[in-house]
Every structure is written in C-alpha cells, then in structure tokens.
Symmetry: C2
Subunit: 68 residues, 2 copies
Amino acid sequence: MTTVTLQVKGMSCQHCVNAIEGALGKLTGVSGAKVDLDSNQVTVSYDETQVRIEKVKETIEEQGYDVV
Amino acid sequence: MTTVTLQVKGMSCQHCVNAIEGALGKLTGVSGAKVDLDSNQVTVSYDETQVRIEKVKETIEEQGYDVV
C-alpha cells in the first residue's frame, strides 16, 4: 500500500471535496482519499499493483481540477 | 411575475451554481434562477401567487449558503 499527497488547484468547497473523494473512492485499488481544502491537498492511499498514480491524477483532473 | 436579485454568501464554484439553480428550479412557481459567482448574486424569477420570497431564500439556505 502506498500513500501519496498531491497538491491540487481549484478545490473550493464541500462539493469539490465530495466530487474528488467520490471519484477516487470508485477507483479499483484506491483504499482511501482525503481532501484538505485549507492546504489544497489530496491524500490518496492505493495498491500499486492495482492502480497507477497517473490514473489517480487523471481522475482528479477529470473532475475539473489541476494536479500541480 | 417578479424578478429579485439576492446577495448570497459562500458560493464558490460550478458545483455551487448547480446546487442553487437546481434547487430553485424545482420550486413550484419559480420560472428562472441564475447564479453569478463574480458578484455573489442569485437572480430569481417567480410567480408571487405560487411561491413567496421567504421560500426562495430558505431554499438557498438549505443548500448551505447565506442570503445576506
């Protein structure tokens, strides 16, 4: 299991939190996703044998946010 | 038909726009609702014989925003 914290731009409210945590939560191999609005960070725990970090970043960007 | 522009606090992104416009759109008597994020304003057109402005404000507040 790997845990990575990403810096993400554009997250502004609880709807954004729900959109990102919800989308990441549906990814196979992701066991946890937590958004911190104050620090603009998304912390994701995932199984490297099941999902790649590129897919995680792509999923965040598909929701309309920029991974820095 | 009456059109009122309300000052609303806490709207930050497109999710907020969708939440407010969606909730107001479902109210009987409301024929139009438009959020302007830049000015923090919500403009609502409604039929005074079908819905009161208090109900409009209440609906916005139920979505988690403050009507000033």
